[in-house]
């Protein structure tokens, strides 16, 4: 997708074209009846900062596990900087922050970090990882006593230990409060500025939009949208307007309304999905409905709903084909 204008490759051992940081081609993975990844194609270039966005069960974690060799695809191919995932892991090309990655509860943070540090192929100095993940104050703590947010910082330190070219972070800010979350991203930006490729999974649209140069939305094991943060939020960032006093058919005619129907939980209300809520409101209060509508509410759709919208509107997105997805569950 973005390979056309790469300048002459630097002296690389890998032939003419530098290998993508991450490449998944036609990757399928099933767990019993569940199709976690469905012919997934994904290519991420060197130095990109990419957010993987998607609801639970979209396949984000499975995709990341494959990139580090913890899961093996049923079919398809995964490479990391041109190497297979197991080799990439052993040679320290890729580091990862596992979602809820287990730690050793009886050990001190320092003790556990020392062990994992010793196993790395070409680690950064332990002190550097400690500083970059901001865990210096936690080193003497017993891991079992850490809060959720503190444990996440320790997992971030683990991911950095190997000084990896490609850094995977699976829901890194889970369990962090707002302040910690902000501090975490400050640290992350420093780390990313060193030219590493960073891929993080998240549920938070705002995090994805703010921190990533590219946002990939996954659903049901496929990529359903792929673009810059503003592009993606334009798709998922629509508004929902609900109101009383008008028929769904009338509301649907208004400019800026994509669809309108009776609200499932409250049939007397009309629920309208809007691409441009300002235009809808203007039309609503200046048009013929102005006298009858009341209790007008404007809200952001939940992320789950936003994902549903993307999947439902996928005919506008060239590389998706979700017709068969529904049958998989």
């Amino acid at each position: 997708m973005n390979t056309a204008t790469v300048p002459t490759p630097t002296p690389s051992t890998a032939g003419a074209r530098p290998a993508a940081a991450l490449s998944l081609r036609g990757v399928t993975k099933t767990y019993g009846q569940l199709r976690a990844l469905d012919e997934l194609d994904l290519e991420i270039g060197n130095g990109e900062i990419v957010a993987l966005l998607g609801p639970n069960g979209a396949g984000k974690s499975t995709a990341m596990e494959m990139m580090v060799g913890l899961a093996v695809p049923n079919s398809g191919e995964v490479t990391v900087l041109g190497a297979d995932p197991v080799t990439a892991t052993r040679t320290g090309l890729i580091g990862t922050m596992l979602q809820a990655g287990a730690l050793l509860p009886d050990q001190s943070v320092r003790s556990m970090l020392r062990m994992l540090h010793a196993l790395q192929a070409h680690p950064m100095p332990l002190d550097a990882a400690v500083e970059q993940a901001d865990v210096a104050d936690l080193l003497k703590r017993r891991i079992g006593t850490l809060s959720g947010g503190q444990a996440q910082r320790v997992r971030f330190a683990i991911a950095l230990l190997g000084d990896p070219r490609v850094l995977l972070l699976d829901e890194p800010t889970v369990g962090m409060d707002i302040g910690t979350r902000r501090a975490f991203w400050d640290q992350m930006r420093t780390v990313a500025a060193t030219g590493r490729t960073v891929v993080f999974a998240t549920h938070h649209l705002d995090e994805a939009e703010r921190e990533a140069g590219r946002v990939i939305v996954m659903d049901r094991g496929r990529v359903v949208a792929d673009g810059t943060g503003p592009e993606i939020s334009a798709i998922v960032g629509g508004r929902v307007i609900t109101l009383r006093g008008a028929e769904p058919g009338q509301v649907a005619q208004l400019p800026g309304v994509e669809s309108a129907a009776a609200d499932e939980t409250e049939p007397a209300r009309v629920r309208a999905l809007c691409s441009d809520s300002d235009a809808v409101l203007a039309a609503l209060f200046t048009g013929p409905l102005a006298g009858s509508v009341h209790e007008v509410l404007v809200s952001a759709p939940g992320l789950e709903e936003a994902f549903l919208r993307i999947t439902d509107h996928s005919d506008t997105d060239t590389d998706t084909d979700t017709d068969t997805d529904g049958a998989d569950r």
């Binding site: 630097t10 900062i49 974690s61 320290g92 990862t96 287990a102 062990m115 994992l116 010793a118 590219r214």
Partner: protein, 266 residues
């Protein structure tokens, strides 16, 4: 939508850097696991104080029998018992940590499952040494007569003979979960101590228990220890029994490893 970041720093080819060999990773993992285990105070107290205390008790009661050679055999048996306890407990403990999913962190750090297994055996082998030494040294201090060579040979034989008990611990940790693994470890350890004749001579028990005991490695670990200490005929059967157990458990470990241990998400 090319992110046009092509700073020179991104183009350094790090893949050319050699990774450490599997052997050195095994060793490093084993060293750190050993460090973590020996700094576990309850573990060390349990694996050292109990066999030393039992040695003192039994040697006081029976030590002078057989011209004092009974004291030496009590030392051998209690050292074997201490080593057995350390081996089984360490094995289950190491496995338990991995069951929780920590093995995934190790693999992502570059350790292969096979290396993890090898390193675990090495670490468990290391943490049984303090128990063997403690009982042995207390034995020397309380009247066991042995030449330095015989003493060292005895401990070395016990140490090598305990290999299958380490594997028992690892297998238990793989097959059983959480509290069941710990309980299973204690039960297995006691059964192996009793049927191996470590606490009381096997000859005192009914015939069926004696027959069973002869098929269990702990009985022969004790026998080999006695042979190293006092001489006599080498118990060849013992070598075969211990070898057979080691091979069978080793295979079981590898098989369980490839499918069971924490590779899948919790």
């Amino acid at each position: 939508m090319s992110t046009s970041t092509l700073p020179t720093s991104t183009t350094t080819v790090t893949s050319a850097l050699p990774a450490p060999s599997a052997a050195s990773r095994i060793l490093r993992y084993a060293v750190h696991t050993t460090r973590m285990t020996v700094t576990n105070v309850p573990f060390m107290v349990f694996t050292i104080a109990l066999p030393v205390g039992m040695y003192l008790l039994f040697s006081m009661m029976f030590g002078d029998l057989d011209d004092g050679r009974a004291r030496g055999m009590v030392m051998v048996n209690m050292a074997a018992y201490g080593g057995l306890g350390a081996a089984v407990t360490a094995g289950t403990q190491i496995q338990e940590d991995q069951r929780n999913g920590f093995l995934r962190q190790l693999i992502v750090a570059g350790l292969s499952p096979r290396s993890f297994l090898a390193g675990s055996v090495m670490a468990a082998s290391a943490v049984i040494v303090p128990a063997l030494l403690a009982v042995g040294l207390v034995g020397l201090a309380t009247g066991v007569e042995a030449t330095p060579v015989a003493f060292v040979a005895t401990l070395a034989v016990l140490w090598l003979g305990l290999l299958p008990t380490i594997l028992v611990g690892l297998v238990l940790g793989m097959v059983l979960k959480g509290g069941a693994a710990m309980a299973g470890g204690v039960v297995t350890m006691m059964a192996m101590a009793i049927f191996g004749g470590l606490w009381m001579p096997l000859e005192m028990f009914p015939m069926w228990m004696q027959n069973l005991g002869h098929a269990i490695p702990t009985y022969w670990i004790s026998g080999l220890g006695g042979w190293a200490l006092y001489g006599g005929d080498l118990p060849v059967t013992g070598l075969l029994v211990i070898g057979a157990w080691s091979v069978a458990l080793g295979v079981l470990c590898s098989v369980s490893m490839s499918r069971a241990v924490g590779l899948t998400r919790r």
